[in-house]
Each structure stands twice: as C-alpha cells, then as structure tokens.
C-alpha cells in the first residue's frame, strides 16, 4: 500500500460526492429524517423512543453506507475505471482503504448530526458520553462501508448490488434485538444473532445509553464491530482480482 495512492482515492471519492448533492443529502439527512419520523410515530412517548432510538442510531448509518458504497464501487467496475486502475500501480488495499476513509469521513459528519438531533432536539436520554455514542455510530457506518465494498465484488450490475440489501442487511435488522431482546429469542436465532455484527453495534448503543462509564462489555462490542469491518475490507481485498474473466 502507498499513502499517496490511498489518499488520492479518498480525495477523488470525496470530490465526486461533493458534486452529487442528492447522495450527500441521503447520507447526511435521511437518517435524521427517519429518526425524526420514529420520534413522531411514538408521539412524544419518551419511553418507547428511548427503547427504539439507540438501535436505530446504529442501524441507519450502517444501512445507508452499505447501499451507497456497494453501488458506487459497482459503478467503478462497470464503467471500466476499475480495470484501468488495476492495470496501474494501484494496490487493492489502496483502493478499498481509500474508499473506506472517504465514507468514514462522511460517516463522522452523519453520526455527529444524527446524535446532535436525537439527543439535542428529540430528547433521547443517554447516560454515557456523547463522544462514545458518536464513535459507535461512526464504527457502524464504517462497518456498512466495508460490507458494501465486500459484496460489490459479487455483483456485476448495480441492480444485483442492491439485491444484497434484503439478503445481508435485513436479517441483521430482524435479529439484532430491536424487536425481541436477543436473549429472549429461540436458541438457534440467538446463536445466529451472536455472529452478526449489527447485534454488537446495537448492544454497544444500548450500553452507552444506560451506563455512564466505559464498560468492558462496551469495549468488547466495539472491538467486535471493528473486527468485522476490518475483516470485510481484508476479504474485499482478497476477492478483488486484477485479472478477470
């Protein structure tokens, strides 16, 4: 890997985003819109909003980043720029980490805005540090980015890439403990939810919500989310082939 090339990729992705107002709006404000909608649905019932808010705060960045990343990288594949880059001195790690950095930066903004909104305006009650809450949201977004990069290797059209959303993201949403606490699920489902990264992201959010200090459980949850992100990036690098059929 070469930092010059990695940062060139990051800068280019950000330059493309700057021109694409619709995607920026989707990345930054759609999560806020959805969170506000959630708050409104419960019509000022703080108890329910406090129960559903944190998982949503983990989920929206994850889903939005997953979608945008998988489609963006696929576009790179189908336009031929990926083929050109791989014929150049571009390391696979440079490409993936460059993308992850760019979207990670966007994720930081997104998480900052979403946390500011839910805690500041919508009255989400959080015992722990807002910095940690933001950190959890950023890690979730980076996880979404990494998974999006990974699955884009298995799609050959943007349509196929979008199909990974119900296949990979929705099961995690169902099993992450949002609807039924993970410990109350049938054993098999609990076991499955134990190996899905979003479960740990949601656990981490809940932990920050109820505990003032940084607990060991929280650290473990965050490390698991991070490990899944790094693992997906590494797998993405392995599955990205310079030579294609």
């Amino acid at each position: 890997m070469n930092p010059r090339i990695t940062f060139a990729v990051t800068g280019r992705v950000l330059a493309q985003l700057r021109r694409d107002h619709r995607t920026v709006a989707m990345l930054l404000f759609v999560p806020c819109l959805l969170l506000t909608l959630l708050w409104w649905i419960f019509d000022g019932n703080d108890l329910v909003f406090n129960r559903f808010g944190p998982p949503m705060l983990a989920m929206f960045p994850f889903i939005v980043m997953f979608l945008v990343t998988s489609v963006t990288t696929l576009r790179e594949r189908s336009s031929g720029t990926l083929e050109r880059l791989l014929a150049m001195p571009m390391g696979k790690g440079d490409l993936l980490v460059g993308y992850a950095l760019a979207f990670g930066l966007v994720a930081l903004l997104q998480a900052g805005i979403a946390v500011g909104l839910t805690v500041g305006l919508l009255g989400l009650e959080v015992e722990g540090s807002l910095w940690i809450l933001t950190l959890v949201a950023v890690l979730d977004a980076v996880l979404g980015t990494a998974l999006g990069l990974f699955v884009s290797a298995f799609a050959s059209t943007e349509f196929q890439a979008v199909q990974f959303m119900p296949a990979i993201v929705l099961p995690q949403v169902l099993l992450c403990g949002l609807f039924v606490a993970r410990s109350a699920m049938p054993g098999v489902l609990e076991a499955i939810s134990d190996v899905l990264p979003l479960s740990y992201a949601v656990d981490a959010m809940r932990e920050v919500q109820v505990r003032t200090d940084v607990t060991g459980d929280l650290v473990v949850d965050l490390l698991v989310v991070l490990a899944f992100g790094v693992g997906a990036l590494a797998l993405g690098a392995v599955t990205l082939r310079r030579r294609t059929a």
């Binding site: 060139a8 336009s79 031929g80 014929a87 082939r241 294609t244 059929a245």
Partner: protein
C-alpha cells in the same frame, strides 16, 4: 540470453490462448510487436482484439502461453508504470472535470502534476479542461480517456479502438499524435475494426476469429495478396484459408 529478437520486441507472445465464458477466444497467437512503431490490430468486431489487449496489460484471466511485455511477463507489477492502457469504454469519471480526472490518475501513477496540462493539450481539450466529463461528446470523452494513458511517460501504449466514432479531422490529428509518440520511442498498439485505418499504421496484425491471419507492413500485405486495399487483402487471406482447410 538477452541478445535475441524476442527481448527487443515490445510485445512478444507464443501460443497465447484465452478462454472466456467456456469458449476459446484467442486460439494460439504467436507474434512480436516491434518497439517505437505504430502497430495496428485490425479485425472485425468480436474477433478478440479487446481480449488480446487485456492479456497484454495483464487484466485477462485464464491466459496460457507466453506474453512478454517490454521484456517482462505481462501483468507484472513493474510494468504498471510503463504501460498506458485505454479500454474500449471511456474509463474516466463522468462526474468529475477533465482536470480532476487527470489529477487523480496522475497521483495514482506518481506522475508530475505538470503532466496533466501537457496531456490535456496533446488531446486538444484545453478549452474544456474544467468541464465535467458527463457534459462532453462521446469523442471528447474518448480523448480524455486517451489523455489519462499519456500520463507518466509510458513506454508502451495499448489503445483499444481510440478513434472509433471520431470526426475525420480529429482522427487524422490523433493518428499524427500516435506517430509523434512513436517517433519519440513509444510503442503504440492501436486496435480498430475499421479496415481503412490500416494505412496509417507502420505494421499490421490482422485478426479473425481468435487467430492472427497476417502480420506484416500494409505495403507488403497488399503486394503479397495482390489486393488494392487492406479490406481486399483481408478477404483474400480468409478465402485462401478456407480453400486450404477444404
């Protein structure tokens, strides 16, 4: 061992075979492309030109046989700085300006940012440098893609149908550019499915259905087949081949 003709050639292949989608697309190609010349790779659509170019730049899977480029095995890491490649589709970012595109690729190549302006000038797009690529015509977009390949002073240019769909004046200008580059020592391999571009090349590889059916200069091809033009020569060669296999 260094002192033989295969090392002097810019591209050297021996019995190159490629399978795509279960079909043999390249069926045993052995040829040399000399350095410092403009070589045309001509053949009808679907004959395997793009596949051959992908094998030369090292992005084609399932190649067997030998492909050596500038004395090294095709696709080796050291070659990625020395070979400029234009894919058939204009592989640039439509949502960035011409200059932003070139700056990015220059950074990837480690090329001088001064190269960016040179490359834009060479393809005659100075007046459009800050326009978004998506707002350009197809021909202009193809020239942006070509400009990217000129960055970083490559020793070999592999250009997949760079002149298709361009107006005649532009085509003439680009061929003049290819010859200027060749005069400065760059090897240029250009593909086209339009036979009337043949006379602009110093050397020709005629391809049909995954095999090279002729490897010669345009003049010698015409005189050896007795045809008036390269299209005639192509047809004569195909007919001869049919008779031979009957």
């Amino acid at each position: 061992m260094v002192n033989n003709s295969t090392v002097d050639a810019a591209i050297h292949t021996e019995d190159l075979r490629v399978e795509r989608g279960g079909r043999a697309v390249l069926r045993g190609l052995s040829f040399d492309v000399p350095r410092g010349q403009v070589t045309g790779l001509l053949g009808p659509s679907g004959c395997g030109k793009s596949t051959l170019m992908r094998a030369i730049v090292g992005v084609q899977a399932r190649c067997t046989g030998v492909v050596e480029v500038l004395g090294q095995s095709a696709g080796s890491a050291a070659l990625r700085h020395r070979v400029g490649y234009v894919t058939q589709a204009p592989s640039v970012y439509p949502d960035l300006s011409i200059r932003q595109n070139l700056r990015f690729f220059a950074a990837v190549l480690g090329a001088d940012q001064g190269d960016v302006d040179d490359a834009i000038a060479k393809v005659d797009l100075v007046d459009y440098a800050d326009d978004l690529v998506s707002r350009l015509s197809g021909g202009q977009e193809a020239r942006v893609s070509l400009a990217v390949a000129l960055l970083g002073e490559p020793e070999l240019l592999v250009l997949d149908e760079p002149t298709v769909g361009l107006d005649p004046v532009l085509r003439r200008d680009l061929w003049a550019l290819f010859h200027r580059l060749a005069d400065s020592g760059v090897t240029v391999l250009v593909s086209s499915h339009v036979m009337d571009e043949a006379d602009r090349c110093e050397r020709l590889l005629l391809m049909r259905d995954g095999v090279i059916i002729a490897d010669d200069t345009p003049q010698l091809l015409r005189s050896s087949t007795g045809a008036d033009d390269i299209e005639g020569a192509f047809l004569t060669l195909v007919d001869l081949d049919r008779e031979a296999s009957r």
